[in-house]
């Protein structure tokens, strides 16, 4: 693996550190260093939200305090990830320059306060950002203790949809549209404005979608989402250029799950390494399996963005403070949850936060160091134990990464479009659909990548594209080429419905030739109208969305499953067609979990993507596979109970080389790391 962070090429352990809150308590800062060493913390993030300390009045910069802290950390073997401070604006700026504050869809300018609330278009904000970033870079960009730039913080995380509707954003949006469509005729056609007399006759008539204006022109909605993502990405790029003016360090920005407003696939190329903030809702359900699956999917997305290891930049060592009920992680779960990240490709376990703040809104968010009790807490002890273990495994793990043979299509533009539709049902739940298709792989211990429609599909043996409503230009051809060359492709209901501008694709489905089927209606059924499909001798319940399709005679599609009742009884629910050297599947309806499990078990076998663990994993246990230096298996037990399993071979435990084979007992929430022998 290419060394991204070449100053400190090891697993990182640490987290967000906010000494600016304690500058008048030097004994606290002393204690921090001591406790960090006790917990084997080797890296902290500094400067997030420090603008008011770094530039307390406009143009007056103070870097001494932060340099002294970086020095002290470095002297003690602790490296720094240095943040640009744009996550929150100082009061002097928001008071003086109104335009830096976001405007709501209702046209109301925000008052100062909170965070992540600046206008990404505002020239003044960009100017002030460049100035502070330049200064930061000039003063600290070559400090030997600084290893990575942390660009801003959780871009777009203003609690709503990240958008600003101010006049400057409106104007920038119009410019962006002009660049894209060239003429109003093109735009009017693309947005189908003849409907409801919405034809634009002047660029100035265009306004962002808002509740008290235009909100149901789906082409406009989609382009607005693209613009917002673009504008934030552009701001991020401008931040990066600013810090790189006096520095050659790698850059990252911390992402948030599948954050809907930002198309992270477009952010990835401009970053040196992907990082993200991981806050699963452990203990919120009767067991941890669904949360584990969802979290594994998030990690997999982060790894997929650059097909490379990433950093878990934030996680809580105990609880968060923003859930309805903030439950402590049970003993062992912190270590498992942290190593799950590593299992999926993370090269770090970083926390928000090192020390609980004394006041304000996150004072009850979990931290390594609490308000009371110093190092004498369960959390501190569990963090320390994990820190020691990470030191032990760092050399073995660092050179490796996961290399999946299967991929699921997850495309932000499709997401925006499919969840904005009116009909066939409300709440199309794209994420949940993706997860339903991801879970069978997790249960089989098969790592999966995510790709979007622009990615290369070659190299995967299986590609599934659930609820793939919007087909970008060239996508259908790419899929056909992929299958022709031997790939296996799974299409579902409500796919290939619209083109890039959300206009319905007329006459024929773009993959009609590939799939060999013709779809006639979509039936969205209420709960009381149950149906089922018969597949391999079993009956499986259908969900709400059910397409009614017909095999096109003579086109070669085989029916593998059919509806069992209602007026479309006998219509195909699952078909397969051989095409070139590959095969294309079509799934007509939502189904219960068990069907997808059966489907993908068959496809895994058919396409040879299973691992040696596939078929042997007990409920709640999964494996992830990092390859490279060595062949490593992370066996993760998400059961809150001891669990028996049969190993498929003989392995050495990475920490101590102990040989393991045959039947073993996993402790509650245990994560074993095994090397192939």
């Amino acid at each position: 693996m290419r060394e991204i962070i070449n100053k400190y090429p090891r697993l990182l352990h640490g987290g967000d550190y906010n000494p600016e809150q304690w500058l008048d308590s030097p004994q606290v800062l002393e204690e921090d260093i001591r406790l960090m060493k006790e917990t084997r913390v080797n890296c902290v993030s500094l400067g997030i939200f420090s603008w008011a300390r770094l530039e307390p009045e406009e143009g007056e910069f103070h870097f001494g305090w932060i340099r002294r802290i970086i020095d002290k950390l470095y002297e003690n073997g602790i490296y720094t990830i240095l943040a640009t401070p744009t996550g929150a604006m100082p009061n002097w700026m928001t008071a003086k320059y109104e335009e830096v504050r976001q405007m709501s869809p209702e046209g109301v300018r925000n008052l100062p306060g909170r965070r992540h609330n600046f206008c990404y278009t505002s020239p003044i904000m960009r100017k002030k950002m460049k100035k502070i970033n330049h200064e930061l870079s000039r003063h600290l960009g070559d400090h030997p203790g600084v290893i990575l730039w942390h660009i801003s913080n959780e871009y777009g995380g203003n609690g709503s949809d990240a958008s600003c509707h101010c006049p400057q954003c409106q104007q920038a949006f119009r410019e962006w549209l002009k660049e894209k469509y060239k003429t109003l005729d093109n735009l009017n056609h693309a947005w189908w404005t003849a409907f409801w007399s919405h034809t634009y006759t002047d660029w100035s008539q265009i306004h962002s979608p808002v509740p008290n204006g235009e909100s149901r022109l789906h082409g406009l909605n989609l382009d607005w989402k693209r613009f917002v993502s673009h504008q934030i990405q552009d701001f991020c790029m401008e931040e990066i250029r600013a810090v790189l003016k006096y520095s050659v360090l790698p850059v990252t920005t911390n992402m948030m799950e599948y954050f809907k407003p930002l198309d992270y696939f477009r952010f990835a190329p401009q970053l040196s390494i992907i990082s993200w903030d991981n806050y699963p809702e452990w203990h919120s359900q009767k067991d941890e399996v669904n949360v584990a699956v969802r979290t594994a999917a998030w990690h997999s997305m982060m790894r997929s963005l650059k097909k490379a290891p990433f950093l878990m930049m934030e996680s809580t060592p105990s609880i968060v403070n923003w859930k309805a009920v903030n439950t402590q992680k049970r003993p062992g779960l912190h270590e498992l949850s942290s190593l799950q990240a590593v299992a999926c490709g993370s090269n770090s376990v970083q926390y928000f936060q090192w020390r609980k703040s004394r006041g304000s809104s996150e004072k009850f968010h979990g931290a390594v160091v609490d308000h009371r009790n110093g190092s004498n807490t369960r959390v501190f002890r569990e963090v320390s134990a994990l820190g020691s273990r990470m030191e032990q495994i760092s050399d073995t793990i660092y050179p490796t990464c996961n290399r999946p043979k299967a991929a699921i299509v997850f495309d932000w533009e499709n997401w925006w479009a499919v969840e904005d539709i009116e009909g066939p049902r409300k709440d199309m739940a794209y994420q949940d659909t993706i997860l339903a298709h991801f879970k069978p792989f997790w249960e089989m211990g098969i790592d999966v990548d995510f790709v979007n429609e622009d990615c290369d599909l070659q190299g995967y043996r299986l590609v599934a594209a659930p609820l793939n409503y919007l087909y970008k230009k060239g996508y259908a051809k790419k899929v056909k080429d992929y299958v022709e060359a031997g790939g296996c492709y799974v299409a579902t209901y409500f796919s290939g419905v619209v083109d890039e501008t959300d206009l319905c694709i007329l006459d024929r489905h773009p993959l009609e030739e590939l799939l060999g089927i013709r779809t006639e209606e979509m039936d969205a059924a209420p709960d009381h109208r149950v149906n089922s499909i018969g597949f391999e001798g079993k009956s499986y319940k259908t969900g709400c969305l059910r397409e009614i399709s017909h095999v096109i005679p003579g086109e070669g599609a085989e029916v593998l499953a059919s509806y069992e009742s209602d007026y479309y009884a006998g219509c195909p629910a699952l078909t397969r067609k051989s095409y070139g050297s590959g095969r294309a599947y079509y799934l007509a309806c939502e189904t219960e979990e068990a069907f997808l499990k059966a489907l993908y078990a068959g496809l895994a076998e058919e396409n040879g993507i299973g691992t040696e663990f596939t078929g042997r994993l007990p409920y709640g246990v999964t494996v992830s596979h990092r390859e490279g230096g060595q062949d490593l298996w992370f066996v993760q037990n998400f059961n809150e109970a001891e669990t028996q399993m049969e190993l498929p071979g003989t392995y050495a435990r990475v920490e101590d080389g102990m040989e393991l084979k045959g039947s073993i007992t996993l402790k509650p929430f245990e994560c074993l790391i095994l090397a192939a022998k």
Copy 2:
């Protein structure tokens, strides 16, 4: 029956047609004509939402394209209902003239976009509307293919309550109030403003009810609702005058169910024929009965508004796109649902929409022609079959109409007032109460009219007035005269409480003499305090609202049912008093369905309003009766299963004259049309 549409006096089959979306695809327009003929479409609605095509820039009019389409349709035997285009405003207008856009209760002017969003008071909007309507009428008002004016579209359908709170509306409201009350003293008394020191001392102090201002002065609330309905009606009248300047065609406007903001009884006189848009939620419940009842009630309202046949101007051939779950109509239900309209008095089956639009917000709303598959769809085949059947029955059906002997009072002003009350409970659910009283008639196969308090009651043998809270001036006397002359009247709990200005009527109930009872308290009971009433040897559960009344000694009321428990056990729940040649009933409380069924079965018999089918209809089956040319019975099976029934006589099937008698089997969702032999 008087011929309203004398250019084409037949059942209409067709729907909304939007060729302006396809002007650059002449092959689509060609295909439309071919497919229309295949489905026996004989009439389409044109021009709804075409303003931006008809007047692309201010003062620049284009009628050629639409004339060519009307010509082409007419050449192919297809007639046109021509719409005024005010349903949506073009962008040039909303951009140039701010005042045409509605203002929210919060005082925020809407941004351009959506539809139905213009200010009904704005002089500029009225001027622009008159201009386009004049031009439309002058150019196309005498085209031989145009048979009817479709004035605007779904007035008031802006998604909220149809109101605009702009300064011009405020001023118009004040003028309307001055006209009504003459002096502030009158207004202050009517609105009881001494309460909470709300006395107005200048007309300019009056403002529409808004959340951050006055919202609990119920007299103001009621007058504001009257004003909004009046203002829209006035706008409609101005549209009508504009199109009739150069045209002698009949006029209609498409209504929406019981649309609360518009008092359709006041609209009716200015229209030539009533039309409405019918979107029942089929398949949303475990069976179709309640939806069928609700839909029959809507149809009955439309027929009642002019006591004449009406047009179903819109309906979906398959699904809508705005429900939480948009379920396909099961085979047969489309035909039944369409003929239900005819059974209740409609002379048309029109669809929204002929062809699905390619983009924007309604692209997934059902249509006769889908994005793909041309005529090769189930929907297309079902529409075609219905079109053929309508051609067969048109001559027989057209001259007839329903002529009910029973009526239910449904009064918009009462609705506004009773659902605005504070106490005795939230959500007085006027519509649901009306439906509860309508359903027993539907189950007995008895057509019912709706009347408001201004209508003539003579001519009906039975009038029920559920939840008739507000008594207009003269209403009590009208009821007494009606009963005295032999009528049967049913009053319920919470009736006659207030006068026209929502002031409580003091001292005595206005119908005390007629009913012979005195009401002392209203008990609104929570769910856990069950009670029941005994009636004809059976016990029936009561609902939440329960009046505690006493028979006035010596006044002649008989107690037919009494409460069975709690502190008002023994108090009357149902009384009857003979008065003149008639009888007056008083129902003291909400009850379960079964009680109303028993009550109205008795009253139907007592008043001789049953039909030959009454008492013989299986669950889910009803009949409607159109009289005139012939005596026609529409036997409608809303069961999704074959259903046996016994015919009460010998009938001829209208389509082919086949004789039917005795026991017959109705197919799932079958509608038989029978002529008396």
Copy 3:
């Protein structure tokens, strides 16, 4: 007892009277006098909401009409409580002076209308208030029939949180902060603004907490709540000074339950007597116990504010009109509910309202006199019977009051802070927690006072402080002194977490020495993670909040109860430590009701605070104890059924001296008033 209302030192019976609505109906006013005498009404409240009648145009005052009514009442033996009219502003004022209207958090100025909607800061409002109050006082402040000033009405009851966000309030807030913090450095430290770069560099940057500005700076939130309460209290004080300019009468203002925005403990000293408006939701649950407990707690709070009798200034004789379902009080409950007030220390039973208004928003709120039926209603009869009984008992009751030996800490500042926290769970439900601790006392027939953290604790044998999150300066020392001197103190989970500015108290719990325990984590558990504690041989379920603490070795705390499962099984759930002459308890978690019942039964016995009835009361029955002239017991049966009980001694019924002892039968909803023999 000190005579507060020395003009008429008796139990009051009457209520709000609004003759200004009926000035044009003199027969109504005549009838009122007659009916008041029939119901034994001896006191009414006049002038609430009369501003528009008293000053119909700016500077034009009309006092004749109200003087004539006071005269007439007085001639008939009916006294007047005279209100200042600021509860609602006249239209001439709101129209002319915009600044008198409140501004919403969104920065929108309210339109005229409703009530309780004036800006408490506005100089113009204060000037106009002073003028009308001066005039009122000058004209009527020495009328022999007027016995008490009723200052305004339900301060802060604008339906939201009582606050105004206008520029004048912002400025006043900043001045208030300057006075409090002196320097921005102090303020920045107290609010911990270094977090998220929120440091203020100029006073003008400070703004009230609003949704589109700063909303999560908890120190700001808390100070804003303090300011709002202060500003309203200051307005009230200014009203009081204005009426006392020409009058020496006592003053009160009618409070509302535990009205969250107003710290009633701070209002109390400036009032002569406490009064409040009591609207329990009788019949909303399966039985009346929880409503009775909640209501008893409210009454107890009112008595505690001045440790003296209070007035129940409003209550409904039947129903209110603002609940989802407004259920009639069952026979007997009105008398019980009214005497419950007296049992808890009220010297009045006053109603809202004497006569139902004819129009506007409260026309369906219950009243003694209804729109119809005159005196011939159940409600009128029950009110009359109660009036007679109150005349009988007045002399006996008046000199007495309750004198509890136990107190519960209820502190408004703690309330504001604990319900504004983010983490460990949403909705900390302070009121419900307080009630959970109050209920066991109610069930044992033990009166309890409420105290806040500023109150003297000496004099109570037991003090419980549930969920006491915020410790004011000096509070911890006061508690230690109290226990040392022999008191018994109960601390719970999540206590002593922050100081007065919501900054976490670092290092040690302020009562660590007193309690002898150390708390390590808070686990907020979802419903499916049940746990239990073992106490005195029984197992009790825990609630959501569970602290994990450890006894500090050698510090002397005994473990009385422990968790029974999960990773903190065995950790203490209840501890006790002797300290000086007293004892301190620590409760680690929320529990089911039964546990608190067992806990306080033991503590009542241990501390000798039980009464002779404790342990003998059947379900649904409680007693209250008024002492002074005689030793009086109010035995209250909240069961809607006859209930047997055993009297602990021999008593004389106050009304007639009848001797009662041994086993007796209470009628449904009966309230017996017994004197010790």
